[in-house]
Every structure is written in C-alpha cells, then in structure tokens.
C-alpha cells in the first residue's frame, strides 16, 4: 500500500493554495494507498482542518520554535516523522522555501530527488517530467529504485481537486536540536512610485531590449497607450528598471487589460506573474520563445522595428 505524503506550504502564517495542489497529485497517484498531509508551524490547527478535506490523514508538527520557517528544523522534524511512517513518496512545493529544504531532506533520508516536476508516472518504475532550459524543453527522467522518493512540485499544474475527510493527528514531534542558521526577520518589499499591479496597460520589457538606452522606447509606447513600464528578471537584475517594476513570482503579479511583452522569452517565473492578464500580446524574435504559449497574439520579429511603427500610429490617432 503506497503512502504519499504532501508537506503543506505555510507562508506568512497562511496556508498556501499550492498545498492543496500537492494533495491533488498525492490523491491521483496513491492507488489504493493513502494521501497524507504534513503541516509544520506554531499555530496550525485551522490549516490542519483545511488540509483534512483533501487528505486521508493530516500530521500536525506543532512547536513554538517552528513559528518561522527554518530548513534545518523542518528537515529535523520531517526525518523524525518519516523514519517512523515510511512514506513511499514525499511531495514538497517548489517554492522559495520548499526548493531550499527538500534537497537537504533527500540527503538526510538518502533518497533520490527530482525538482520542479510537472508530471509523475508510477506505472512502470518511477518517471518524473520537468522543464529544462527555462521552459524550452521537457525531459522525462527515470528515478533509481529506492525505498522512498522526494519531489518538489511546480505550482499551478495539479489543479484537479479531490475531496476527502481525513483525521488530524498530533505527531508530538519537536525539533531535536537548535538550528545553526538563525531567522532574523522578514524583509518587506520596497514601495516604488508606480504600482504596476494597479495599471490597466503594462508594457513589459525583457532581455531582448538589449540595452538600458532602449528602455526609452518602451516608455514612449507606454505613454502613447496610457500604461506603465515593467520588466522581467534580467532587466531588473541589470539595474535598467527598479525592483518594484519586476513581474514574476519573486516580483509582482499583474492582471492588466493589456500586457505587451517586448523581448521577453517567458521563463515560468515570469509567466506566473502575468498569465491572467486579459489580453497578452508578445513580440519576440525567437519563434520558440515560451511566451508565445501564453500570448493570444504573437509577433515573431524585431521589437526595434515593430514598436516605433506602433508608437507612430498611436500618435497619429491621438493627433
């Protein structure tokens, strides 16, 4: 009987919806086994109740020392639980936290790990599917036969919900030692002059803008459309736009009426920040750019030819 464990994701004291997605996957692969949730923190009874609607069992690991996430403490308590409960599969969110502690968990449990998976097939050996080259290709990998496996799971993939009515169990587990790494504080985002998440029209630039001097072109287009300029990670990393203009998982999520993506290839981390925009138009010289998979309209071409032509026509209309 297969036991699939999903470790819930807690962010700022809240249960992250990706936790339910982990359980959706757990339920889909458990066969006649069980989908079990683990929730770690200091005040987690409500989260455990919520998780029990999607799991056959919920394990609570509650202690005041677990109020703030710490990879050493998370792995400490998980190793204690798993050495008793013997999971076949452990699912962790591929979040900033999950992607950090899951590799340590795999090392401590001496199990294989595959990260950021979008598919898992247990019908003939263990086969996981994930993206490589920032979304350009997919790979199926066979994982070495082992007593258990750890996977980190990409958010937004396993949406088909399963309902259950599981019992909540207090594990009684506490960290066995103090962590070497010390949590100091959460650092708040810096507020900028413009909140791009409130704009109706966002003109967003990526690596294809080539140079800081070309940002002006995007500004002209944004002005002609009555929108704001934003950017993808490489543009922010280069210091061409301030951090508060970054669209993506680690920046802002935007849902404007129009999102114009100029020279953005469309890494997953960017797409998650703009895919729910009402209309997405992308201009990129690479026809294989993943951005064309989320855009309604695509232009395979040179932004330095298309954008000036568009600006000129918009100015003509305005007169």
């Amino acid at each position: 009987m297969m036991r699939v464990f999903a470790v819930a994701e807690i962010s700022s004291g809240e249960l992250d919806p990706v936790s339910i997605e982990l359980l959706n996957l757990a339920n889909a692969i458990k066969g006649d086994g069980s989908a079990e949730a683990v929730v770690i923190g200091s005040d987690i009874s409500a989260h455990a109740e919520e998780l029990s609607k999607h799991a056959d069992k919920v394990w609570k690991i509650e202690d005041s020392s677990l109020e703030h996430y710490n990879p050493e403490l998370y792995v400490d308590v998980l190793v204690q639980l798993f050495s008793k409960e013997k999971p076949d599969v452990v699912l962790v969110a591929n979040s900033s936290r999950g992607a950090e502690y899951a590799p340590l968990l795999a090392v401590k449990l001496n199990t294989p790990i595959v990260t950021d998976i979008v598919g898992l097939d247990l019908s003939n050996g263990v086969k996981a599917t994930r993206y490589i080259f920032q979304g350009k290709l997919l790979v199926d990998v066979f994982v070495k036969e082992a007593e258990s496996y750890v996977f980190t799971v990409r958010q937004g993939v396993f949406k088909d919900e399963c309902s259950a009515q599981g019992e909540v169990v207090d594990s009684g587990i506490k960290p066995s030692a103090k962590a070497k790494r010390e949590f100091v504080r959460i650092v708040e985002p810096e507020a900028g002059e413009v909140d791009i998440s409130q704009a109706d029209i966002v003109v967003s630039v990526g690596r294809g803008i080539d140079d800081v001097s070309n940002i002006e072109l995007a500004e002209e287009l944004a002005e002609a459309l009555g929108g704001v300029v934003a950017g993808s990670r490489p543009v922010i990393d280069s210091g061409w736009l301030p951090k508060d203009r970054q669209v993506g998982i680690s920046g802002k999520t935007v849902k404007p009426k129009l999102y114009l993506a100029l020279g953005i290839s469309g890494a997953f981390q960017h797409i998650m920040g703009m895919k729910d925009s009402e209309l997405i138009i992308a201009v990129n010289k690479d026809p294989e750019a993943p951005i064309f998979g989320v855009a309604q309209y695509g232009i395979v071409g040179d932004i330095f030819e298309v954008v000036p032509a568009l600006v000129e026509k918009l100015r003509e209309i305005k007169g």
Binding site: G135, F142, G298
Partner: protein, 248 residues
C-alpha cells in the same frame, strides 16, 4: 578575518542559444549551442571576489566536467586558483554534489558560494545537497551577503518581493540569486595574470547516479495567433485589435 572561499562554477549552454533535441532523443543537440559560465555562477564568483577584496583571503573555483573556459574566466576575474573535476555528471545533480564533496575533502574552507541553479537543467540542487552532505548551514537564493566576524548575515529571496534575513555561522554554503551584484568584465591584464594561476585536475569516483534520462522533447503548447507583415502592417493590425477591445 580573512576567508577561504570555494566557488562552484558550471560551464553551461545558454538557454537563449539554439536549443534542439539531439538525434537520440535523450539530450540536446550540441550544434547551435553557445556555452559560457552559468549566469548564476557569474554572480557567485563576483560576490566571492568582492568579499576577498574587502576582507582578504583566497578564492578557489571548482568546475565539474568540461569547465576549462569557465574556470579560466573566473581566474581572469580574480579567483586565485582552480580545480577541475573531469567527470561527466549529465543532469544528475546528486553526482555533481558528490563529486565536489570528494574533490574538496582536503581543502578546508569558510564559505562555499554557487549559483541558485544552472541555466541549462535548472535543477537548483547541487548547492543545498552539498551543504547537506557536508553538514553545514546554508541559505539559497541569496540577494545580499555581509560578513560579520565568524558569521554571515544574508537576505534570501522569497515570493512577491519579500525577503528573509538569516544569520549563519561559518563555515556555510550560499546559493546566489542573479542580480545580487554587477559582475565585472574580464580585463586583458586579468587574462594575462590568469595564465600563471594554478588549474589542478582532481579525479574522483562519484559512484552511482540517482536519475536516468528517458527522453527530451519539445513541450506541446497552444501557440499564439501570429500577426505577420511589415512593421507598418503589424502596427496597423495591432491598432485594430486594441480598438476592438476598447483599449484605445
């Protein structure tokens, strides 16, 4: 205090170059690929050199597989010496971490820095696994580092623009997020100086791997409706779409 810093740097294919599935369907066609230092590792080596410039010490750069060009680049940027581990670990991060652990067993260090992930396979595993194997504290996706006596204070990136500040005792390992600094260009003097620096090979047996590639393929995606024509025609069509939607 002076620090002995080990940097892991990968020589990796640029995802912006021509990425095609290889003939056997189990890898990527080398033709059309452009290789360079993994972008995240470029920030890691820069950060290590900056720490050395400020606090003194030594920077040793370690590469697994065919890494010569990247190791020389790091030496030209300012690393003191390089270690090459001639073993092809493919997509298996466990093997890479294991190989590095074996190769640096006699080195001793205060800090290990590497990129958050590689730009080719995007596993984001080697750093955290190596920290686990070495039993040292670590933080991933770090966006700032300051050295304070025998410990370091870092901020790591969370979602939504948030960060998390940690203090770690040394020795420790950090994986670096892109944008943490502005990496320097390689100077002619740097390249000259690099020629006199040590590049040592250390062969190790990393043992058996954890994964095997079944197949590599192009993702099936529903593509956008393409707008074609001259720039003027494209602009005209776009104006039409925007008008229909009441956006202008």
């Amino acid at each position: 205090m002076t620090l002995k810093i080990i940097v892991l740097a990968k020589h990796a294919a640029d995802p912006e170059s021509e990425i095609r599935v290889s003939a056997d369907g189990k890898g990527v066609d080398e033709k059309g690929l452009v290789f360079d230092i993994n972008d995240w590792d470029r920030y890691a080596i820069e950060e290590a050199i900056r720490i050395k410039e400020q606090h003194g010490g030594e920077v040793i750069v370690v590469g697994v597989g065919y890494a010569d060009d990247t190791l020389r680049k790091c030496l030209a940027m300012g690393a003191d010496r390089a270690i090459k581990i001639p073993i092809d670990t493919g997509m298996d991060s466990y093997l890479t971490a294991k190989a590095v652990k074996e190769a640096i067993a006699d080195e001793g260090f205060d800090l290990i820095l590497t990129g958050l992930m590689s730009q080719d396979y995007n596993n984001a595993l080697v750093g955290a696994m190596l920290a686990g194997m070495l039993g040292i504290p670590f933080s991933t996706a770090v966006t700032s580092i300051s050295v304070e006596d025998d410990k370091i204070r870092v901020v790591r990136e969370l979602e939504g623009g948030y960060g998390e500040e940690n203090i770690l005792p040394l020795p420790a390992l950090l994986t670096v997020q892109s944008g943490i600094n502005e990496p320097r260009y390689v100077s002619i003097m740097g390249i000259k100086r690099a020629k006199t620096k040590e590049l040592k090979e250390i062969s190790v047996d990393a043992g058996e791997g954890m994964i095997q590639v079944d197949k590599v393929y192009v993702p099936p995606v529903e593509k956008a409706e393409l707008i074609e024509g001259s720039p003027d025609e494209i602009a005209e069509k776009l104006i039409g779409i925007l008008k229909d939607r009441g956006l202008i």
